[in-house]
């Protein structure tokens, strides 16, 4: 890696399941993780069940808003949103809200495969010029970076977990099938998540 910050063009394409596993392996403080619709939450599920994981089953685009809500309710806990590029493009305004509120405990990880992969791989605008980390910076999220490769992704996650946010980490992905498929039982997902957060006994 040279000294220039990575851009979407220079970032190495990494595998979603691999970086999801790397992320989950770093979570030692019951951090909450919200998996967005698409393959993002499938790979979160496949990376191992944690009581602090929440898997969306619809509500496209709401991984960051849901994570922001958890972050507001539990300011001592780090909260991580995993969101696909197609999903974030649907709800770009949520970055403006994060930029305005500056939640210190919120980390956003953007899984940018340049496609709506789960619906057949149709091209997204991020494959055609929209730089989602730059969009985040333009809303006032100063810590918004592209991961240059797997090792750099890990470094960015370490920094995000150790310092006040909001942080946004964008990863350019290879196109790859997810390693599993989330069990679609919403009431159970919510119940486990609340117990994982200590809000239900």
């Amino acid at each position: 890696m040279n000294n220039q910050p990575a851009t979407r063009d220079t970032a190495k394409a990494v595998a979603r399941f691999d970086i999801t596993q790397r992320l989950v392996a770093k979570l030692h403080n019951e951090e909450a993780v919200i998996g967005g619709i698409g393959h993002t939450n499938f790979d979160l599920w496949a990376a191992g069940r944690r009581p602090q994981n929440f898997y969306m089953l619809g509500s496209m685009g709401l991984a960051i808003p849901i994570a922001l809500g958890v972050a507001i309710a539990q300011p001592q806990r780090k909260v991580i949103a995993l969101e696909g590029d197609g999903s974030l493009l649907m709800m770009l305004g949520c970055l403006a809200t994060v930029g305005a509120r500056q939640p210190k405990n919120l980390i956003m990880v953007i899984m940018d495969n340049g496609a709506y992969e789960i619906t057949g791989g149709q091209t997204t605008a991020s494959a055609q010029g929209t730089d989602l980390a730059a969009v985040a910076r333009a809303t006032g999220i100063a810590s918004a970076h592209w991961a240059a490769d797997e090792a750099h992704f890990e470094t960015l996650i370490d920094e995000a977990l150790a310092t006040p946010g909001p942080h946004l980490i964008a990863a350019r992905l290879t196109s790859a099938k997810p390693a599993g498929q989330t069990e679609r039982d919403p009431a159970q997902i919510r119940d486990r998540f609340m117990r994982g957060l200590g809000t239900k006994k």
């Binding site: 509500s59 709401l62 849901i66 809500g69 958890v70 809200t97």
Partner: protein, 172 residues
């Protein structure tokens, strides 16, 4: 209760039930309620870019242990069926919605009037509890009971503020 305005009563009732988070896309009729809420440190209140986002935030906050409400006008509600039917309803999250009703009783914008007609059919089709507040003497009872029921049954609820209560918005 010593409050004598609809917004005063709703403000006090939200507080009595520890509903602390208020996310909204503004509406002129809601202005006195929004202003009261912002003036009270008890609440965390802010605008969102879309009503869907506002519902997502309140859903997350509920799971994190904080109660919330989303404020919007009728046209904002009309953007929500997908999110309501895929997040608070199936996941059993008691998001409270307060909708200022446009589109009826003196509406001057045909677009608002058409959009408003979609609201109750949508609420009914997803079996979401909803009540229309049209009388000042019923505001406290309906608001109080709706919050209690939403929390106890883990289901979202919607309160519609009729122009009969608020005066609505009229063409001048």
């Amino acid at each position: 209760m010593t409050e004598t305005t609809w917004h005063g009563i709703i403000h006090a009732t939200l507080k009595a039930h520890d509903v602390k988070l208020v996310t909204y896309v503004p509406d002129n009729v809601l202005r006195p309620l929004i202003e009261r809420i912002h003036a009270d440190d008890f609440f965390t209140a802010f605008t969102c870019t879309r009503e869907e986002e506002a519902v997502g935030i309140v859903s997350g906050a509920w799971m994190g242990g904080m109660r919330g409400v989303v404020l919007m006008q009728t046209s904002g509600f009309a953007t929500l069926p997908n999110v309501l039917a895929s997040l608070p309803v199936p996941f059993q999250i008691p998001v409270l919605l307060i909708v200022s009703e446009r589109g009826t009783l003196g509406e001057f914008n045909i677009g608002q009037a058409m959009v408003a007609r979609t609201m109750r059919p949508v609420l009914d089709s997803i079996a979401m509890e909803h009540h229309t507040l049209s009388r000042l003497d019923e505001v406290e009872f309906i608001t109080d009971r709706s919050i209690r029921q939403a929390v106890a049954t883990q289901q979202p609820a919607c309160l519609i503020l009729s122009p009969l209560l608020t005066g609505g918005k009229v063409f001048k």
